[in-house]
């Protein structure tokens, strides 16, 4: 009986936290030596960020061919070539320009001229179905310039004519002037859209694939069973594994944010605090998405079926949750699906925090949806997860 009492004493001194820490360290070492974890969590998102980072800012570049016969002395020509976002193509013949326009390689062809009879400047514009939208941009740019110049002209004319003539003219038509004010809003760059999306996707795929593979193989190779023979309690095994995944993923997210910020000018509206808030949100996302991983590890009958099942979970979210394209670009029915998926809300919240400087209250609805998903997923995980 005395021996029994001693045992009870020993048990009380046993620290589950120390055991959990040992698992977390071992698991972390295992993760960083696993090339696919590093590739998925850090290299992959960075490649996308680098690729999109070089796509220039918010501007739409319009390539405009200038007809070689153009008179380049006019004022309209002068204002046009100084417009932003216009790239001029002057080296081609009229026929070549036509050919390129046909294929959508350039967006419009302009010919500047002077009508000798009225001494008016004339701008001829040719656009093409091959580049309809940008063609329309060029057209409206040109008409704006013409309108401005015409108003200036009539103001000038009115100084030199009898005011009664003007009065009479105003009875039928009045000139209208557009007064335009531009506020200098924050510049929303491509990287500001793409980085949070990549971060979200990196978290999703690491959580689902990583957790599913690790728990499947720990179970299959009986590492877990060997753990069960030690005094650690089962929840602490999961906590230890989860902790190492969390730390690894947060390091990965930090690398992505730091490179995004310093190399590609990713906007961190409140600096380091914004970055920390993003990491906090990443942690929440990771915990929710790890639930999917537990489910997959439980339902997979063999290691080979893990990737297809995990892809069923991650790929639709990759495409539909605003990782690459804003979901506003989708048709309404597709948006309904997008808005049902959890990654949408993580991406949304990350963007709001980073760019708008949103606080926790501002993203409370996103957090709520994530937590609800978490409850659903973990309910399924409890149902499907297998220890043996």
């Amino acid at each position: 009986m005395n021996g029994g009492m001693n045992k009870m004493q020993e048990k009380k001194n046993y620290s589950q936290l120390r055991a959990m820490k040992a698992i977390a360290i071992a698991s972390f070492r295992s993760i960083i030596r696993n090339p696919s974890a590093v590739v998925f969590s850090i290299a992959f998102p960075l490649v996308f960020i680098v690729a999109f980072g070089f796509i220039n800012g918010n501007s739409i570049k319009m390539e405009v061919g200038i007809d070689p016969q153009s008179d380049t002395t006019g004022t309209i020509y002068h204002s046009f070539i100084n417009s932003p976002n216009v790239e001029l193509k002057k080296q081609f013949t009229a026929a070549e320009l036509n050919e390129r326009l046909n294929r959508g390689r350039i967006d419009a062809v302009l010919k500047f001229d002077k009508a000798s009879s009225t001494n008016t400047e004339v701008v001829e514009i040719i656009t093409s179905q091959a580049s309809r939208e940008k063609g329309m941009f060029v057209r409206s740019l040109v008409t704006n310039l013409i309108d401005k110049q015409n108003i200036e002209y009539y103001k000038n004319v009115s100084l030199h004519v009898d005011s009664s003539i003007i009065e009479r003219a105003r009875e039928t038509t009045k000139p209208t002037e557009l007064r335009e004010t531009k506020i200098s809003g924050r510049e929303y760059k491509m990287i500001d859209f793409i980085l949070p999306g990549q971060l979200g996707f990196s978290i999703l795929s690491a959580a689902v694939f990583g957790t599913a593979f690790v728990f499947f193989s720990l179970r299959q190779t009986m590492v877990l069973k060997r753990f069960f023979a030690t005094p650690i309690r089962r929840p602490y095994i999961i906590l230890g594994e989860a902790l190492s995944r969390l730390i690894f993923q947060l390091l990965g997210s930090s690398v992505i944010i730091v490179i995004g910020h310093f190399v590609f000018g990713f906007t961190l509206i409140n600096g380091i605090w914004t970055a920390l808030e993003m990491l906090l949100l990443s942690a929440l996302g990771l915990i929710v998405f790890m639930g999917f991983g537990f489910v997959v590890s439980g339902i997979a009958k063999s290691e080979n079926v893990i990737p297809p099942i995990a892809n069923i979970i991650t790929l639709p979210q990759f495409l539909l949750c605003g990782t690459f394209f804003p979901i506003d670009a989708f048709p309404k029915w597709l948006q309904i699906i997008s808005k049902a998926l959890p990654l949408t809300y993580l991406n949304d919240a990350l963007r709001m925090i980073a760019f708008e400087g949103a606080g926790l209250m501002d993203i409370s609805s996103q957090l709520l949806v994530l937590v609800l998903w978490g409850i659903v997923v973990y309910a399924a995980a409890v149902r499907f997860f297998r220890w043996e």
Binding site: M8, Y14, I23, I25, A26, R29
Partner: protein, 254 residues
């Protein structure tokens, strides 16, 4: 070897859905002995072992380990036993030193890794990854992890299956050494030569029941007394002796 019972199993029963894996087993293991559970595959050896190791629920019966009831305090039992599982593995990418750190944490024990590895003849492999070890080295490492908490009892489930004759013999030496330090050893095997050399007592299990329990010597004597004779005349050496005399007895770093 003292005569105090360190493991007492009474009327142990384990039913799976349709199979009766363990069918009313009772036995005791004495402190400081090497106790063997023998039997063909599927006889219920591993199930019995895993119930005592707290890894499997029993259907009925009682198990006491060093005075602790399995029903009341399985976690206290885990603290005083070392368990080597059939076909268990470790994180393949971790070095042996790191794996020992892991198990030291899991047992809340402080150990000297080098000393631990020397105990099982792996002193030069501390920086090797587990996956780089040979089969015999993996088994030896697995036994090292059972010793971390300085257990009173070590359970070894078919530790020599799949090893070459040299590795087997060296593992036997290791097991004897563990026992010589006062640790009780419970081992399963289906190699009778192994049981005969290692075990103080063996229980032979068949279809979930113990059909015989005694020292190997006694069991052999009983059989001879019943009039049994080997058909062939036994030569004073066998093929394994030939193999070992040709290839040497020393431990291979496979």
């Amino acid at each position: 070897m003292s005569n105090s019972e360190i493991i007492v199993v009474k009327d142990l029963v384990k039913h799976y859905k349709e199979i009766q894996a363990v069918n009313g087993i009772s036995f005791s293991v004495y402190e400081g002995e090497i106790f063997g559970l023998l039997g063909p595959n599927g006889a219920g050896k591993t199930t019995t072992l895993e119930i005592i190791e707290t890894l499997r629920e029993k259907t009925s019966g009682t198990v006491m380990v060093d005075g602790i009831s399995l029903d009341h305090n399985p976690n206290a039992i885990k603290q005083i036993i070392g368990v080597q599982l059939q076909a268990a593995n470790y994180y393949p990418n971790l070095m042996l030193n790191e794996l020992l750190d892991l198990f030291a944490g899991l047992y809340n024990a402080s150990i000297d890794n080098a000393e631990m590895l020397a105990l099982v003849g792996l002193e030069t492999r501390g920086k090797s990854k587990y996956k780089e070890l040979s089969g015999g080295q993996k088994q030896r490492f697995s036994i090292a992890t059972t010793l971390i908490n300085k257990p009173k009892i070590v359970f070894l489930d078919e530790p020599t299956t799949g090893l070459d004759p040299q590795a087997r013999r060296n593992l036997w030496d290791l097991i004897k050494e563990i026992r010589s330090k006062g640790t009780t050893v419970v081992i399963t095997t289906h190699y009778m030569d192994e049981a005969q050399i290692l075990c103080d007592r063996v229980a032979i299990i068949e279809k979930g029941k113990i059909i015989s329990l005694n020292s190997p010597e006694k069991l052999i004597d009983n059989l001879i007394a019943s009039g049994f004779e080997r058909k062939k005349e036994v030569k004073s050496a066998n093929l394994e002796d030939v193999f070992l005399s040709l290839t040497g007895y020393e431990w291979r770093d496979e």
